[in-house]
């Protein structure tokens, strides 16, 4: 997962907003900010529920991806499974940037889509592109 701000920071933003009630500049603006804060709480909750499994899946896909890359340095088997995730994410960035991995690499497109959709499921599940690829519309015509 790559949410920025992270879940702790989101909760902090909500707490800071809660302390600002007495200095609100106007009722309408405050109400709007309250909605934003509530949305952040929802994101933090969804991340708590969905995040861990998404991280495990992302890590598995990244390891599979690098197992297939020719000339790749074989990695150590990590004792802490998830400590590997940020390092592999950075490695993927470098591999894409230097061209050693691209859309012709088996599994890359699927990995990027799955990771982005899992992130959107946390950040904004109602986002049009997420809905289109994860939650098919009802069979009834709109």
């Amino acid at each position: 997962m790559n949410g920025r701000p992270n879940i702790t920071q989101l909760n902090q933003a909500v707490a800071e907003f809660g302390q600002q009630v007495s200095t609100a500049v106007g009722a309408a603006l405050h109400a709007y900010h309250a909605k934003v804060a509530s949305n952040l709480q929802d994101i933090a909750e969804r991340e708590a529920v969905l995040g861990p499994a998404a991280d495990v899946a992302e890590l598995a896909r990244l390891r599979a991806l690098f197992a297939e890359v020719p000339g790749d340095v074989p990695g150590d088997v990590p004792s802490n499974v998830l400590a590997d995730l940020p390092a592999l994410q950075r490695r993927l960035c470098q591999a894409i940037a230097n061209g050693s991995v691209d859309l012709a690499t088996p599994g890359l497109a699927e990995h990027l889509w799955s990771t982005a959709l899992d992130q959107a499921a946390i950040d904004q599940p109602s986002y049009s592109t997420h809905r289109r690829h994860r939650s098919p519309p009802p069979a009834k015509a709109e």
């Binding site: 790559n2 701000p5 960035c93 859309l103 592109t129 997420h130 289109r132």
Partner: protein, 338 residues
């Protein structure tokens, strides 16, 4: 009232003499950016009420920092745009030192709606929405046809310049985004050849347009205008981020691409599909980098509003939008009713 406004009142009243005089009233701040501020005010005159806007450099700040037009250039752009048949507020008066109000200008205050989600969803704009994409195309063609030689000096940015800028900016955030790297690779290998420097609006999107029930009333916010590739303006208008929930209508959430392009071509605009695709990808990436920069400013403590924190979490939307452009795949299938 903002600090400074009471001090400015006599200066404003004096300047109003050049606008036909009358009693000054209704002074209020409309918005304030880092380096500019926008005020509304009215002049009660025998012929009626004149409703006006003052745009000026924030006292103590250099006007025109960064890429984009100085205030004097904005004024000249508004006049040139009006002359070219683009709907814009009428530019009324360029401030001079003797006005004692700093750098800036006065323009007509238009009446209409600028909130993107209302433009996209309100029933009273249904008819206006029907012709809006075409009207945007026509307006853009007319903007792009304004000869740079008729304008004051503006910053210039080629496709390569804009790509370099966003690549560097993304690197300063240190965010780990494989999809952004994919987009940067694709963009590097698809940089269009330099085109004749053309006036571009620089931020033509739903959010900077004023409409009413009849249609497009004004093209606003010219501060990012510069010389560059006109396809950038067309592509920016279609970025998914400002379709306000109507992704099925690529043009600002209110219209179809065919209508935008038809309006553009019929008003003489030179459409280039290959360059459009480049700018669609770069525009989408740009919004993602902006989201990261907003998260950065929250993390750094420059702006601790909940809004900044929240926008940081919208970067994932742009990753999906980039994948749609670069690695499209079939949507999820409808499930059959049991």
């Amino acid at each position: 009232m903002q600090p400074g406004s009471n001090d400015d009142w006599p200066a404003l009243q004096a300047m109003a003499g050049e606008l036909g005089g009358g009693q000054l009233s209704g002074l209020r701040r409309l918005s304030g950016g880092a380096s500019q501020e926008t005020w509304a005010f009215d002049l009660q005159q025998p012929a009626g009420l004149q409703v006006l806007v003052l745009r000026r450099a924030r006292p103590g700040r250099q006007a025109g920092e960064g890429l984009g037009a100085s205030l004097a250039a904005e004024y000249a752009l508004l006049r040139a745009a009006a002359h070219a048949g683009v709907p814009v507020p009428q530019a009324r008066l360029l401030l001079r030192p003797e006005h004692g109000l700093g750098d800036g200008f006065v323009m007509q205050r238009l009446n209409g709606e600028t909130l993107g989600r209302r433009i996209v969803a309100d029933a009273r704009f249904a008819v206006a929405r029907g012709g809006l994409a075409r009207a945007c195309g026509q307006a853009l063609a007319r903007i792009h046809a304004i000869a740079p030689s008729a304008l004051p000096a503006l910053p210039s940015a080629s496709a390569a310049d804009v790509l370099d800028h966003h690549q560097r900016w993304h690197a300063t955030h240190g965010t780990v985004r494989p999809v952004f790297e994919l987009a940067l690779r694709w963009l590097r290998s698809h940089v269009p050849a330099a085109c004749t420097p053309t006036l571009v609006h620089g931020d033509f999107r739903n959010g900077n347009l004023m409409i009413d029930e009849r249609g497009l009333v004004g093209v606003l916010d010219w501060e990012l205008a510069h010389l560059g590739d006109p396809m950038a303006d067309l592509a920016w208008l279609c970025v998914n981020a400002w379709r306000f929930g109507r992704s099925d209508l690529p043009v600002g959430g209110f219209g179809a691409r065919e209508d935008l392009y038809a309006g553009y071509v019929e008003a003489g605009g030179p459409l280039d599909e290959a360059r459009l695709q480049f700018w669609a990808v770069l525009g989408t990436l740009k919004w993602g980098v902006i989201c990261d920069s907003m998260a950065q400013s929250w993390l750094d403590g420059h702006d601790r509003s909940v809004e900044r924190a929240a926008i940081g979490r919208r970067a994932s939307e742009t990753e999906l939008d980039l994948l749609e452009l670069l690695a499209p795949r079939a949507p999820a299938q409808r499930t059959r009713a049991a």
